[in-house]
Amino acid sequence: MDEKIAPHVDEIIRALGTTNTTVNHAIIKEELTRLIEFKVPPEEAKRSLLKKYGVSEVKKLTDLHGGERDIEITARILDINLKVVGIKGQERTIFMGTMADETGAKSFTAWEDFGLEIGDVVKVNNAYIRLWQGMPEINFGPRSEVEKINSGVLDSLTASDMDKPVPLAELMEGAAAVHTIFRVMEYHQQEINTKNGSRTILTGIAADSTAKLPFTSWEPNPEITDGATVEVKNAYIKSWRGIPTINMGEFTAIARSETDISEDDLAPILDTAPVRLDSISGRMGVFDAVIEGSLISIRPGSGLIIRCPQCSRVIQKSTCRVHGVVEGLYDMRIKSILDDGTGALTVVLDADLTQKVTGYSIEKAKEVAALAMDQTSVEDEMRRRLLGRTMRARGNMTKGEYGTTLVAAEAELTEMDTAAAAIALIEEMGAVPQVFSGEGESP
């Protein structure tokens, strides 16, 4: 038995050794022997012991994903707030905040009091990552070890990087402790109902020279007024309907910015000229994009459709897959593929826009369908009218399981003065360089 176990014990000690954990050789041997006696296969037994004696994986904050366990991180506490929550009928004090390393910032929850303060640099062993409202969040509790370490270790990252405001176009979903400056393009007060009664929040549109994004302030704030430029610290970015949204909560600092974002600064993003699709296809979500391209496909399910009156699902043969046999409601839509030669996406038009680009009202579509005794005849007719035509659309672009989609808020078919375009293109061609293919030649 001994000879068989010895190499495994050595292996475990070696693995643990690399993480500076000192574990008694005899204990490992004893526990491993015991597990093997209980008919646990050696590989599984080794895994258990490695886990028990804490081989945390060292990770940087930007590499964290939901569901990961036994993580070791080193980060600075940027913000920490006490919160009393009810868990299983008991009141418990937890600590929520934001921590950052040189790669980025993340929210955390400490389920016990580790005596942490803003500015502390901590090494956390056995942390685990949970998705909270779609964002990975660092959790540490009774099983975790939290060690305060010399703050000099992380000096390089803190002040400089975190203090620099980030342009809106670079804000990524899931980012915490966000520092940014934007102009309030518009805002609305909204009453929402929460479990603690109703509260007032502000929603609106933020803009800088790089992008426009929606924002939500969960607390009313006097600095948020139309046209004001504000500097925001400790905001967080959440995805709302696929679009990154700036969230400002109770721990977010909002102040009037020293420098204003002027109309001139905003000009490039308020321009309603369509953008090339390859310029936005890398982004996860784009708010209020204007695009233009050829309609190269009208997808099945376009045209005249019937929806369940209760859940709005598209139904067939008067039967909703949730609500059974129902009296369906007629609607129209177009699901098209728009392609400009640099990129392609799905553009969805609602009934009004479908009528605008095809000239079909729902009434007319019903007549056509009745005459042909076939609902899909409307789809065929719309396909005939639209295929190959150029459409300009405006709306929010999101990425999902089925690729990139833009739900149009505005859409129109466009014409082009091809003669003028030809003259401009011939002129443009004068600047096209020759190609240098062989070696030794240089531009």
């Binding site: 990139t404 293109l425 360089p433």
Partner: protein, 186 residues
Amino acid sequence: MASQYSREVAHRVFAQEFRDSDLSFKDSNDQYSPQYLLTPTGAKINRMFIVGTLTEKEDIGTDAEYWRARVVDPTGAFIIYAGQYQPEAARAIAEVEAPAYIAIVGKPSTFQTEDGNVLTSVRPESVHVVDEATRERWVAETAQRTIERMNNLNSNDPDATKAREHYNTDVSVYKQMLIDALKEQP
């Protein structure tokens, strides 16, 4: 998110450039990885969008229908093959009467002859009749995209590099092609 579905772009190339293309490859050995055709100005095509004039069509099938059609743009002709595996496109070709302006979305396909020449053709996903304005606009947009590719041809872009090395592209030929194509625009 690397595995996220992303639709292949429908490239715009003129018939002359398409006919000059003979470099066909896959990015990986996986049998499901898409097949690409690289053109002399560096368009890496898995899907293309063509608007041109259908001038000839012929059912060359023996048992099942198999349509061979010729679609002409200002620089030359695309050869289109549609059979039982492209039922909608084949039916559309069967129904349309030449000459007519048609829009085609399809995949490039190559065939090597015994003497080593590579012939290019298009396997259509869809074929639809369009109007003259759509055809003019396609010419302008295809010229625009071709100019963009030529401007990019000296860059480090992998497609551009590959095109340069394989074709030793003479840009002046394609410049002249574009000028001829654009001059006939009304």
